[in-house]
Amino acid sequence: MTNSIREIPLSAGFLVIGSNTTENHPVMGSMIKNAVINNGKKLIVVDPREIELSRFADYYFQIKPGTNIAILNGFMHVLIKEGLYDKTFVETRTEGFQELAKTLEKYTPEYVAEICGLNNPEDIPKAARFMAELKPMALYYAMGITQFVSGMNGVKSTANLQMLLGNMGVPGGGVNPLRGQNNVQGACDMGALPVSYPAYQPVANEENKAKFEKLWGVSGLSAKPGLTLVEMFNAATGGQLRAVYEMGENPVMSDPNQNHVIEALKSLEFLVVQDIFLTETAQYADVVLPSCTFLEKEGTVTNTERRIQPMHQVLPPRGDARDDWWIITQIANRMGAKWDYKKPQDIFEEIRTATPSYAGITYERIEKELIQWPCPSTDHPGTQYLHKDKFSRGLGLLTAIDYTPPAEGTDTEYPMILTTGRILEHFHTGTMSRNSRILDELVPEGFVQINSNDASNYNITDGEVISVSSRRGSIRIKAQVTDKPKPNVVFMPFHFYEAAANVLTIDALDPACKIPEYKVCACKIEKIAQ
């Protein structure tokens, strides 16, 4: 997030797009509800499914999955055409306006409504005018923006809109991606990415290479960007990748196109899985290493607003389970490294040198202070919101972006759109939540949400077990007949191994950031013959 959670009361209104906040980031969802319902703040929601927040929205757009860019362009078209954008901000803080304006010309409300499958084109200009009045408006998004082949462009479009509205670099504004896992932010900051060292310092850069060779006391670090997760599995089936070391990941459940993932794991020469349970993925391992859960460890995590917080050991390790950092160190030292970490804090001290944005953060400080990176020195208070007087690149770049359709369109064989996500009571691959008694009892099995119109066309009743298939596979799953998804769109949570949504999803990737298109693929639903 460019801005902070505690700024929610400072916003005049919110645009929530591609985020079912009250289920996936519930505590923030409640804060937004409190602002809107109890304090008169305004709300615009864009989502293919009716979600809790859309019930309270001043404007709601139920778009077809994969058409975020079109509607964002539609809002911007109106802002420019009617001269409602923040001219001072655009002139002094950004570049690229002319090209953007040119691209936006064709995104008239009618054109956008056509792409997005909306029957309320007249609401697009109304909502755009409404947004222009909200000073400031905060934009929140989640995987409903990013999990598309056009995900990267979707992200850039949200930034375009907020720059045009002058909502960047002010408290209560900003572009705020909601991170789905407790330390995704930190894992990215720490360089658990194939293209960058800690703090997003590119690996394909001689200076960075030299810097890390010196810091780590090694030579010959590779300057060749590595493989992303989905690419790893392609390289495994292709034979280039021979061994995989997995720590706390469950790709059999979480990655698109499950059958392909399993094939890839089987073709490896050596698979190590380090986890807390014998997960669906661990079944394919050659070695399984038992690790500690979050309550058994110490260390730091970084939340969605860049805030670094301490984890404390609540329980002793279970059985012979060990800390992940200990296990990695043991393997490294057996391979010739001479690492001498005695506790997480020793590692954190090294992180401070490797990661300029964390340099001023210490274990002592985060026990008492609320610190958000960047925090370059120990006397720096941290950064509540980014881009205050200038963007990291200087001027903010407005990028002209055209709508592009999802990788897989519907056709007569697969006439419906499948979109996937999470539900309130469960989490990701279910490894944790489905092993928590109360959560598992609350929602013990998977389901597919089908619009009641579609259900009656197919003669499907609520609770009936049906078959859902895509070009990649087929599963049996209970139908939940509701009016939440848009007609012709079905929704399925991916937490349930018995009816794994990722048997169906497509492994098409965004060419730039390699995110898979979980949010849209073509599917068909069928009644199962009795």
Binding site: E305, I328, S436, I515
Partner: protein, 352 residues
């Protein structure tokens, strides 16, 4: 905000314009009792247990009384004590407060006030209210209306913090009752089990399903950590009993969550103590997993990585790091892959 000075119990204390008397007092370590007041929700000013004497004259409820520069406050005198006793006796007689079988025993604001003011017994003449006991309908929450003192904290927590508006009051004749939705059982209402109403309830009227049989409140110890689920990063106080079993999770007020949690943070922690947890390294031999020692497993892993690296080059090895692990662990994983294996093949599920 402008600083103000008050004289509370003869002590000069500082506060800020806009605070109430109870807020200034508590910030200065002076403990005025309260029941309906809770710092996380809006003020009700109904129970009157917080009465104090202002400027040597009137008795005022300190939770709603604005603190004014130069104000003199007495938090306890003979009149106040007898008022408080009277209120407590009424509250006791109005319900059924048998602490012996109450989950809140030892962690109840009513109980501690009864002890603090030496209340011996309830007023006998008051009629007992007929109330609901519902220990079954919700997976997470129990309610015993005999212990409800109608303080409204739960109503406000659900309205202002969770914003699901489940709790409300119904008036039937002379009886005011706390009801969920249109008088539904809590498990059948629109409750999303965030558990916030339980966290703020001062008595045992609302309690967690997870606590029964897991030790008395005074045997529990707590430690804070950060929720393992989503990226909000809620700070949680975890309570465990003498046997080390987790009992409950309360939202910490210093985290980004301001004390609030969702159903996952509140009730999703027992996987940690599941019997299905892995507790020994496993090595697959002839298709089945066999338990191994750490030395065996680690030697095998390091040996295999070295062998594959020598044979196929460093880029033939890849690692998946984890968004559920700490910064320190993620840092080490990428360092291991880059500095020891010699490849940039390291990623995690940021995109999933």
């Amino acid at each position: 905000m402008e600083e103000i000075t008050l004289l509370i119990d003869g002590r000069e204390v500082k506060g800020k314009q806009g605070q109430t008397v109870i807020e200034v007092a508590r910030e200065n370590g002076i403990n005025i009792p309260s029941l309906c007041y809770h710092p996380s929700v809006s003020k009700t000013g109904a129970c009157r247990i917080c009465l104090v004497r202002v400027n040597n004259r009137m008795l005022r409820p300190s939770c709603v009384e604005p603190a004014i520069d130069g104000m003199t406050v007495v938090t306890e005198d003979e009149d106040i004590v007898s008022m408080r006793k009277w209120i407590l006796e009424l509250l006791l007689s109005d319900g059924d407060h048998n602490c012996l079988y109450c989950d809140a025993d030892g962690d109840c604001e009513l109980q501690s006030l009864v002890k603090r003011y030496g209340v011996q017994e309830p007023r006998k003449e008051e009629p007992k209210r007929g109330r609901t006991i519902d220990n079954e309908s919700s997976r997470g929450i129990k309610r015993n209306e005999y212990r409800c003192i109608l303080c409204q904290r739960c109503v406000k927590a659900c309205r202002e913090i969770q914003v699901s508006n489940v709790w409300g009051f119904s008036e039937r004749g002379f009886e005011t009752r706390l009801i969920a939705d249109d008088d539904q059982k809590i498990g059948e209402s629109n409750c999303v089990m965030c558990g916030q109403c339980v966290q703020v309830c001062p008595t045992g009227a609302l309690t967690y399903q997870t606590v029964l049989g897991r030790g008395a409140n005074w045997e529990l110890t707590k430690e804070s950590s950060i929720c393992i689920y989503c990226g909000v990063g809620c700070k949680i106080d975890f309570y465990k009993n003498r046997e080390g079993i987790l009992v409950k999770a309360l939202g910490n007020y210093e985290g980004p969550n301001n004390g609030h949690l969702c159903v996952k943070g509140r009730f999703g922690f027992d996987f940690v103590q599941s019997p299905k947890r892995l507790s020994k390294p496993l090595i697959k031999r002839n298709g089945t997993f066999e338990e191994a020692t750490w030395d065996e497993a680690l030697d095998l892993v390091a040996g295999k990585f070295a062998e594959i690296k020598a044979k196929n080059g460093p880029d033939s090895i890849a690692a998946l790091s984890s968004a559920k692990c700490t910064n320190e662990e993620n840092y080490l994983m990428q360092k291991f892959m880059r500095a020891v294996i010699g490849t940039n093949n390291v990623d995690h599920c940021a995109r999933l």
